[in-house]
Structures are given as structure tokens and as C-alpha cells.
Symmetry: C2
Subunit: 393 residues, 2 copies
């Protein structure tokens, strides 16, 4: 973990007002409620949860989640796994394919490290070549340090995302058999994440998408078990669909990560009745730097929040101050009164943006400033470094 | 400037092949040609150039530009100015409004620092309040260190961007008069940048937009000069329109920055005949990690390149290998054969993406790896740190 620059460290205990803009701010009370709701939900459904650390990229927040009941965290990149291990997180699943021999060597080294701490590393595969290369890296590591480690390997099946993953069925069986040829690899189950289902607006559309995913998993599991191979784990689900995977009786682990902060985009989904009431907990604090007759300009553009899932919402403390945010480029946001509202903010006024997509927003920042006691009158109580910021290899 | 992590520093002298993915790579030969073309262009038109460092955020590249003839660089943020000064760049223009007293105090401190090195700091304003606050910060700094520094102040006029800037005409005159009330401020001219004109596809539409901007500048300049105030500098222009401002006889300084790397987006503009032949010089190296019947997946998503100006182009070494890139989320890109092409890349294959927008792409990375001798067989010859990465306050 990086040490904090003095002007950031000095914020501890200071009022919200003192946070310079733009800055990434966590509403600690809302985050705590989200975490508790997720822990309760998983308990109630008797399902494991392994939140995706690609959201917050913070070892401290990962440990907080594990303390609340998570079995570990997911990461998407080798370098993210390294940042988590460096920060003391030892139960990790790289829910992605890795092909580069250099990266696989780093992963084999991480297996050794986490095992020294009683932890476990798992990884996804979707090709024979990927399995063979992973096995080679494990063999090379064993030759180097003399320890016969084993890595958990999950076969990724494409359950509707259209990205990585083999087709459900026989291709997955072949891969499971391939994995079992290599003593340093342990076939641990199926990775079956349906990314596209997360953002389907209608609850019915999400139900249909996840029902198909469940069918694909069931079919694949039966075929693998017919080979006398046990499918230990079925892992998947995001914040948009988690109630469906949890109720499926087929998924054994939820990977949802966004629930902790809640993207503006997720708020656009028609809510499933069973969905816990997750709240927006991540904000970009911004200041108005220029005012005009029909618009104002704030100092947060898309270098301070990601816009891949649309523009941020402007948090309104009352209905009169409702504003719409328009893209003003890398460093600016254009603000106009929302329909039914009149008031434009004044020069110097502070505003709070709810990012359209939290994961890539966090990746733009070095730190997340945790505020307790509310965004209006709270104080800075925690500062989390984005340990895996830009850890993209 | 940050010191390089060992696995990055070790790349010096190594072949392109050794660069782990995803990574931001500069084609040094192409960048050198772009820089020379810009220097020649400015010389030929007898116009100053002050490239925008918001593109590369690198003090080393800023100094390279100054060595090639630039009078200094523009920045958009106080923290970017600080990063430039820390890296030895002492001629800076903050082409943006700053309102927070804390930031203005930092700017006053920077004025002292750059003047110690014979440099100069300038800033844009678009409100009386902004002028008064800036003057106060300069007065406070003088009280603190006993030195009577002066900061150059440019009045920003809105020439069609619809973002910051006062209306051309009397509002600008009033601001120039306000600036002259404060002994620590020197009215230095007009900031007249037309951001929207940069991406108008038709050359004719750009000509019309910049013609209007020129009219607005001429009107405003006449009104200010009628008050007996000299308008020293008229600064503006981006890579999309610079030939027009250069030919205007009204603009005295070009702010274009993107010419150095050339966004994929700029390649979509109908080229003006007078425009220098700038080449794409910035790439994201990426690897194929998953292959399928009709698509392949690479390891670069929108956490490694910005997509605010569209998806990246895939650099093709020959017409058979032309690929289209589709959004695969934060960490993945989906690749399909382009129209008229057949071939999908194989597992493990390296590809080169041309970012839609270079500025926010650079901001996602810690380093830019400079390759000489071409992307296929070249070697790593320079490594530039993104000094002002995430310097957003």
C-alpha cells in the first residue's frame, strides 16, 4: 500500500468542506449499510460471496468484506492479485483468462505466497492452451522453489455474455479433463458470469437471461459429473442479477462487487423485489468554477469519473436544486437545471456526483476519502488508497 | 517525477516483444516527425505554440516540446502545473478557471517558484469573483514571503464552446478593467479556445466555426483597446482547427496538444489541405487472451484506453488482418474481422490499438514506453512517467 501524500493524510478528522475538488468520497455510513445488507442476504440464501475487488482495488476494503463474511475476493488482473496479496488478502480468484507466460509465472509465485498464509488462489481458463501454459508455469515454479503447490482452476463457460468462456457442454467437459491431467492444477468448478444480464433494465429480461445461464450450468455440470468429476463450485452473478443466481440452487458463490458503492447505472434497473436496498455510497465531490445564464460548469470531467455507462447523476439535497450533468470534456462538467427545477448553483458551490460506473471511476483516483456523518456535515474518518490503481497487466 | 518500478525500468533496450500487456507505447519515430512538423508549421506561420500538456502529463515531453520551439505548455489543473514545475517546466499557462482559495494559494506559490527560474505563469479567468480571489491569493503570498510577484491573467471568452468564458464584447472589457485594478495581476490577453470546432468532421464546418471565433476575438480586442488597454496575446486552437487560427492573423499562440500522438478520432475529420500530416504515435499494446469462432478477446478494455471519443482502432500491418474493436467492458476488448477481412487473431497474438482520445488514455497509465525502430521490430528507447497522472485538483 502506498503512503498518503501529506495534504491527503492531513484530512483525517477534518470536515467534508475541507476536501479539495474533484475528489472521490465514500459515504461510510451508506457503505456500511450496503455491506451489512449483502452479508445478511448471503447468509439468508446460504450462499458464498466473493465480491469483485476490481471495483475498489483496495486491500483494506477487501479485508473489510472478508471480515463481514466474504470468502475472499475476485480480481480481473494478475497485477490486481499482486496488489491484494501485498495488502494482506490471501483468498483470491482471478476470474479471467491469462495467457502470457510472464504473467503465469507471476501467478505461480502468488500461489506460493498465499499458501504460506493459509490462503488459496484460483483462476479461470477457457482454452487447452491456457491450461497447458498454466501447468507449465506451476511446474517451472516447483523446479525453482521445490514446493509442489496446487492452483484451483475454474472452467469459464459463456452463459450469454459473448466474451470469454467456452460453450456450455462438451467443450467445458474437455477442458475439465485436460485440467485433471496436470497434478499442479485442481479442477474447482465453473465460472459462469453473465455480464450483460446485469444491465438489462426490465426485471423480467434479467430473469430470462439468468434462467438460460442456469440451464447452461446445469447441462455442463451434468456432463462433467457423468465423467466422474465433481464440480465443486459454480461462481458468478453481479449486483444487477444476484437475487436470481442466489435463488437458483445452482450457483454456490456470488461475485457481485458494485453493491458496495452502487453505480448510478444500476439505479436505472427495474428493481427486483428480493433485491437488498443498496444505496449510492461513492461520490465525486466537485466545485462550480464558472457560471452563466443557462448553465454552470464544475471542475469534474471524465478524467475524474468514468462515462462508459453514461453521465453521473448530481446528488440533490432537495428538489429545487436538481441538476442534470452534461459532458464538458476531460476536466469539466456542464450543469443545467433538471426538468421542474429552476436553480443553478453559484460560483464556488460544492456538488456531489454519483458516477455512472464506479469500477473505472475508482481506477482514476489515488485515494477514496471516507466520510462519516453524512456528506453535508460529516468528517473524514477513513482514507483508502486505491492499491491496484492502474494495475492492468 | 516518480521513479520507475524495476520491471518497467528493465525494459530499456529490450525488444517490443518484451512489453507486457496492456501497455501504453509511443512510436518515437512518429512522435518525432509530428513534433518537427508542428515546429515547422508554427515557424512558417510566424505564430507562437504552447502545446497542451494535459495530453501527455509528462514534464520530460514538455521540455522536449520547448526545446523544439514551444514557448511553454498549457495545463488545465493546478496540480498539473505543480507536476510540471516539479519536473523543471517553468513557462505555464493554466488555461482554465480556478476558484478555490486553497488552489489559488498554491498558484501564488507557483508564481514565486517559476519566477525564481526566470519563467512565467499565466491563468485564465471568466468572473470578477475569480479575479478578486486571485488577487487576494497573490496579496497573501506577498505578505508571507515579501516578494511582489505578478501573474499574467487572460480573460477567457466563449467563442462557441458553450462551457467557460464570458461573452465576447463588453463583459470581457469589464474583466480586463477589473484585472488592471490589482497590481499583482497583469492583463495579458484573451483565451479564445473553440473546443467544439476541433471535432466537426467537415472542413467547411470548422472554417465557419473558427471564422465566428475570429470575429468574436476581433470585436472584443477592439473594445478593450478602445479603453487604452493593449491585448498582448490571443491564444487558442486545437489539433483539429489549428490551420485556421494560424492563418487568421488574429491568434498569436496555438494551444494544440494532440498533434503529438494523434487520436483515432481526429483521423475521422475531413483533412484541411494546409494541415500538417500528423501520424498516430500512441498505441495500447494488447494481447489476445480468448478466441472463438466469430470473435477474439484482448486484454485491453476501457481501464486501459478512454472511450469517450469512441472505440480504439486496431492498427493493421496488412489489409488481411483488419479488425474492428468492440467494447468488452473494463478489462476486455472484443475483436471481429473488419468488412472485407477474414482473419481473426490467434490466442496470444499481440495487437496495437490506436486510442479514440489520447488525453484521458494517458491519464490511465503510469508510464509511456517509447519504442524506436517501429512497432514490429523496434526496441524500448525511452520511458516517460505520466508525472501528472490523476493530478486533478
Amino acid at each position: 500500500m502506498t503512503s498518503l501524500p501529506p495534504h491527503i493524510a492531513d484530512l483525517m478528522g477534518k470536515p467534508v468542506h475541507d476536501i479539495d475538488t474533484p475528489a472521490l468520497v465514500i459515504d461510510l455510513d451508506a457503505m456500511r449499510r450496503n455491506l451489512n445488507r449483502m452479508a445478511e442476504f448471503a447468509k439468508k440464501h446460504n450462499i458464498l460471496w466473493r465480491p469483485h475487488a476490481k471495483l475498489h482495488k483496495s486491500a483494506t476494503l477487501a479485508k473489510k468484506q472478508i471480515k463481514a463474511g466474504a470468502v475472499g475476493v475476485c480480481v480481473q488482473k494478475t497485477a490486481e492479485a499482486e496488489a491484494m496479496v501485498a495488502g494482506g488478502v490471501y483468498n483470491l480468484f482471478i476470474s479471467n483468462e491469462v495467457i502470457a507466460p510472464g504473467k503465469l509465472a507471476r501467478i505461480a509465485a502468488l500461489v506460493q505466497k498465499v499458501s504460506e498464509h493459509g490462503g488459496q488462489l484460483a483462476i479461470a481458463v477457457d482454452s487447452t492452451e491456457g491450461v497447458v501454459r498454466l501447468a507449465q508455469a506451476m511446474t517451472d515454479a516447483r523446479a525453482l522453489n521445490g514446493v509442489a503447490n496446487v492452483i484451483d482452476v475454474l472452467v469459464e463457460i459463456d452463459v450469454g455474455q459473448g466474451r470469454c468462456g467456452v460453450e456450455p457442454g462438451s467443450e467445458a467437459v474437455a477442458l475439465a479433463l485436460e485440467i485433471r491431467k496436470h497434478p499442479a492444477l485442481r479442477f474447482a468448478g465453473l465460472q459462469a458470469y453473465h455480464g450483460k444480464a446485469q444491465h438489462l433494465r426490465s426485471a423480467q429480461a434479467r430473469r430470462e437471461a439468468i434462467a438460460k445461464a442456469v440451464d447452461a450450468v446445469v447441462l455442463t455440470r451434468q456432463l462433467i459429473e457423468a465423467q466422474g468429476i465433481s464440480v465443486g463450485l459454480v461462481t458468478g452473478a453481479g449486483t444487477g442479477s444476484l437475487v436470481l443466481e442466489a435463488a437458483s440452487g445452482v450457483y454456490s458463490e456470488l461475485q457481485a462487487g458494485s453493491f458496495l458503492f452502487m453505480d448510478a447505472d444500476y439505479a436505472k434497473n427495474e428493481r427486483d423485489a428480493a433485491q437488498p436496498q443498496f444505496e449510492h455510497a461513492l461520490f465525486v465531490k466537485t466545485q462550480v468554477i464558472s457560471t452563466h445564464t443557462h448553465h454552470a460548469v464544475c471542475d469534474a470531467g471524465h478524467k475524474s469519473h468514468a462515462i462508459d455507462s453514461g453521465m453521473p447523476l448530481v446528488h440533490a439535497f432537495d428538489s429545487e436544486s436538481e441538476l442534470d450533468y452534461f459532458n464538458g470534456g476531460d476536466e469539466h462538467g456542464i450543469l443545467r437545471p433538471a426538468a421542474g427545477s429552476q436553480r443553478l448553483p453559484g460560483l464556488g458551490q460544492m456538488l456531489w456526483l454519483i458516477p455512472g460506473h464506479c469500477d473505472p471511476t475508482v481506477n482514476l483516483h489515488d485515494v477514496m476519502i471516507g466520510v462519516g456523518g453524512g456528506l453535508r456535515n460529516g468528517t473524514v474518518q477513513r482514507i483508502y488508497t486505491v492499491d491496484a490503481r492502474g494495475a492492468m497487466t
